[in-house]
């Protein structure tokens, strides 16, 4: 099964990289961008076809390693 974990910075956490990208977009003439926050996407292949088990494994992966929950939130999706 294909799955995806998306890690994003929590609201209020300063994101200097996002700010730099925001500035670069502005200087490229891309209009209408109010703000940019940078995050990470992990595409993960899961063994077997048990969706509940897959979600539990992905959640464990995110809690243990993929996200630092002091500053980041994560979202887990089993894409099937």
């Amino acid at each position: 099964m294909k799955a995806r974990v998306t890690v994003t910075l929590k609201t209020g956490v300063l994101d200097p990289q996002g700010k730099a990208i925001e500035g670069a977009l502005r200087s490229l003439g891309v209009t209408g961008v109010a703000s940019v926050r940078q995050g990470k996407v992990f595409d993960i292949e899961i063994e077997g076809s048990d969706k509940a088990k897959a979600e539990a494994a992905l959640k464990a992966a995110a809690d243990k390693l993929l996200a630092n929950t002091v500053i980041e939130n994560y979202r887990v999706e089993v894409l099937g």
């Binding site: 956490v13 300063l14 200097p16 990289q17 243990k64 390693l65 993929l66 630092n68 002091v70 500053i71």
Partner: protein, 233 residues
């Protein structure tokens, strides 16, 4: 002073650290590979050195923080053992939950490699007894992710409990945004855990201990630790 220097793939400051420990204490430190599950018997000081463990992949220090040897460091620290974590070591200690907060990308996004000034906030700790409170020391800094942040309650607790040991300052000790080069909250350069036995700091005191280098301001930290351990023995 029996010290143990942890070694992770991608670390590159472990030999500077070992050299300094040898110069100050006269004793060769044990080099401990990341797959070890115990620190050598009788270790007084565990050191997590700087570098780029695992190429800074995922987040700085994230992968090293989950290695087997860190369980040994956690139980060593829980029993009151002294832990010194420098630069990437500070990032690893935060990721491992030994210290609160996170080291984020420097505010101006640049990797900054130069000498910086640190104001020593207090002298009554094993790590800073070699200095006077308010003293300013010059030490090298070399990092891209040293911008210390934590939630408002954590910062308030660190400040309230006097757990900030080093702050980026001007050479005269005044706090000034120009000298807080990485944008750290409250110009925080180094903090201790709630028990005061784990220090994490971004700059490299181990690189300023020999007169031939031109500055020995880092000596006080290691000499202070050796003195503390000699008295405790």
């Amino acid at each position: 002073m029996k010290s143990a220097v942890l070694v992770f793939p991608g670390i590159n400051r472990e030999r500077d650290m070992a050299r300094t420990l040898k110069i100050i204490s006269g004793q060769e430190p044990a080099m401990v590979w990341h797959t070890e599950t115990e620190l050598p018997k009788g270790t007084d000081l565990a050191v997590i050195p700087g570098g780029f463990s695992y190429g800074d992949y995922l987040r700085c220090g994230a992968i090293a923080a989950r290695s087997p040897v860190m369980d040994a460091v956690r139980s060593f620290a829980a029993k009151g053992g002294l832990v010194l974590a420098v630069c990437n070591g500070f990032q690893i200690a935060c990721e491992a939950g030994l210290l609160p907060g996170v080291l984020m990308r420097n505010a101006r996004l640049k990797f900054i490699c130069r000498d910086v000034y640190l104001r020593v906030e207090r002298s009554d700790t094993p790590f800073t007894r070699g200095y006077n409170a308010g003293q300013v020391i010059r030490v090298p800094s070399a990092h891209g992710e040293g911008n210390y942040i934590a939630d408002v309650e954590t910062i308030a607790r660190l400040e309230g409990e006097g757990r900030v040991l080093f702050r980026y300052s001007a050479p005269d000790g005044k706090l000034n945004a120009d000298f807080n080069f990485n944008g750290a909250t409250n110009a925080i350069a180094g903090i201790v855990n709630d028990k005061g036995n784990v220090l994490g700091m971004m700059p490299h005191p181990e690189n300023h201990v020999e007169a031939a280098i031109g500055c020995t301001d880092g000596r006080g930290l290691f000499a202070g630790l050796a003195d503390h351990l000699a008295r405790a023995a």
